[in-house]
């Protein structure tokens, strides 16, 4: 007698894989359509992307700070922060800089292009836990992109937060993103400070380092007010958030109330490819949003 093995379908010891669609989730992506493209600067565009299947679209929800993997078949797949409001179902907004292979090709596509979307992945900014606090949103360069989702969350529940500041630094005025929304933000009683490294002939705002404005903002707070009532979100290049977090840390603001979003190379977004590991922590699972305390405990994070 011989023993012929038969092919078993996939299941796993722990609960994770009980459902077939969870398994499929790994290489499965929602087919989506680029419904609109708005050029924002020379290098960045805002893409509105809609999941084609209406049920999938309705079921898709995310938290501010999470990201999706966007796939252009045959070209590449990469992680992007969702930059739209978490409460609005419909088109996701992704603000993408043409930086490499896939993003440059994306830059050449037009409305109607079909893409693949999977996610949402990763940790988020705990905006609900921040209710009641003054909110400090600090962005450098492309860092404004992941900040836009928490900004919208805060705006939609404006009454639940105290003072809200957005401090945003960019290289030059022409690099500023989402200019068309600044007035709207201000109308929601938000203090918007914008500073550039280098002005141009039309620029009338401040020129210099974002840290100056932050120092001023901290100084404006009276007594221990700042450290007891503030939650901060910092997004930007590593040098920037290094300096900024240092200043905030100095005020005594608890490190658990300062949040950053880190970027690493990712090939899966699902804690398998190891490309995003910091020290030995998966940015895609434990991040991209980390509190500052966790960052300090990650070797080679910054």
């Amino acid at each position: 007698m011989t023993h012929k093995l038969t092919t078993k379908s996939i299941s796993s010891k722990k609960g994770y894989t009980a459902k077939e669609q969870d398994i499929a989730f790994f290489e499965y992506s929602h087919k989506a359509e680029i419904t609109n493209i708005y050029p924002l600067t020379a290098n960045e565009k805002l893409y509105q992307v809609q999941i084609i299947d209406p049920d999938d679209r309705a079921a898709f929800s995310f938290k501010p700070g999470q990201f999706v993997m966007l796939e252009l078949p045959g070209i590449g797949e990469a992680p992007f922060s969702i930059s739209s409001s978490p409460t609005r179902h419909g088109a996701l907004e992704l603000c993408i800089r043409a930086a490499g292979n896939m993003t440059n090709f994306l830059d050449r596509t037009s409305r109607g292009t079909k893409v693949g979307i999977s996610g949402p992945f990763g940790t988020s900014f705990p905006v609900e836990d921040m209710e009641g606090d003054d909110i400090l949103l600090l962005a450098g360069g492309l860092g404004i992109v992941p900040l836009r989702a928490p900004i919208m969350s805060v705006l939609e529940n404006r009454s639940r937060y105290g003072r809200v500041d957005i401090i945003y630094g960019a290289k030059t005025p022409s690099d500023l993103l989402f200019k068309y929304q600044y007035e709207m933000w201000k109308q929601f009683d938000i203090n918007l400070d914008i500073i550039v490294d280098k002005g141009d002939s039309e620029w009338t705002g401040p020129v210099g380092m974002i840290t100056e404005i932050i120092k001023r903002r901290v100084a404006e707070a009276s007594g221990d007010d700042f450290k007891h009532r503030t939650s901060a979100i910092v997004c930007g290049p590593p040098v920037m958030f290094n300096f900024v977090c240092e200043i905030l840390n100095h005020t005594g603001l608890p490190m658990e109330k300062m949040f950053v979003s880190l970027e690493r190379r990712m090939h899966c977004g699902r804690g398998k490819c190891c490309r995003c590991n910091i020290g030995s922590t998966y940015t895609c699972l434990k991040g991209p949003v980390f509190d500052y305390w966790s960052v300090l405990n990650l070797q080679e994070a910054i």
Binding site: P73, G74, I75, N104, F105, T109, G112, T113, K114
Partner: protein
């Protein structure tokens, strides 16, 4: 470039392609014909306008020039300058074009007159030191290998057309060799330049149990010092290692350095 194809709704060009050869064995061009299975697809994806080895028609209007071979004579310099002027993109095809290839072995004597006499006696003959084409013109892209790997060229051409970035592997041949479950040549007592040579050939030679000769040049940050140490430890004669290092010209900088520091 003429646009004739689309991909994901994006217009992509069907480039006019020309092939040229300087001093070489013309093997790299032949490699392109050697992919019988996909040759016809290749021919329909690009428009070949000049290919002396295979066709009579020729044209001076082309988008991409593949240049095989190295420079060893004045007239080749002239031809190369013209190619650079006509082409949008110049691609160095194969190790001769990229590093000088085996042809640069004659440079090692530092005595062209001796070299000429050795082969032609007193008959006058025109030649100069073999040089990679990048010493004369700007090269947009290098495709390594002696010979080139035809699949690699095809991938590169597809990526060129799609406008995808062309990234050569940055890791050394060992990666590909291990992926093929080969026995390491060092286990067999043979030298191999796999640990320091840029991958992309799918460990062609080691998969046939021939130690790598380094035809694709050094991988970024190749640890040559350690490799020499490894060979030394295993009592592999330095001469055999040097023979390989200097064979295709990719390691010429390290060779010079070695000669200077160790008087080899």
């Amino acid at each position: 470039m003429t646009t004739k194809q689309t991909f994901l709704g994006v217009n992509v060009p069907k480039p006019r392609v020309a092939f040229f050869e300087l001093s070489s064995c013309e093997g790299c061009q032949l490699q392109i014909l050697n992919n019988e299975a996909t040759l016809l697809d290749f021919l329909s994806m690009v428009e070949i306008v000049t290919f002396r080895e295979g066709m009579t028609e020729k044209s001076d209007e082309y988008d991409v020039a593949f240049v095989e071979g190295c420079i060893t004579r004045k007239d080749e310099e002239q031809r190369l300058l013209t190619i650079r002027k006509n082409a949008g993109l110049v691609v160095a095809l194969g190790s001769c074009a990229c590093f000088g290839g085996v042809n640069q072995l004659k440079n090692r004597f530092n005595d062209l007159n001796w070299v000429k006499k050795e082969v032609y006696g007193d008959h006058p003959i025109d030649t100069q030191e073999a040089k990679p084409i990048s010493t004369l013109i700007d090269v947009d892209l290098e495709i390594y290998g002696c010979p080139i790997k035809k699949e690699e060229v095809e991938d590169i051409v597809v990526n060129l057309i799609l406008g995808k970035s062309i990234d050569h592997p940055k890791y050394p041949v060992c990666m590909e060799c291990k992926a093929k479950s080969n026995i390491c040549l060092f286990d067999l007592g043979e030298p191999c330049l796999g640990p320091i040579t840029r991958a992309g050939c799918d460990a062609w030679c080691p998969s046939s149990r021939l130690g790598c000769w380094g035809c694709r040049g050094p991988a970024p940050e190749a640890n040559i010092k350690q490799l020499l140490h490894i060979c030394n430890e295993r009592e592999i004669p330095m001469e055999r290692v040097m023979d390989r290092l200097e064979c295709f010209g990719g390691f010429s900088e390290s060779i010079e350095q070695l000669r200077r520091t160790e008087g080899r």
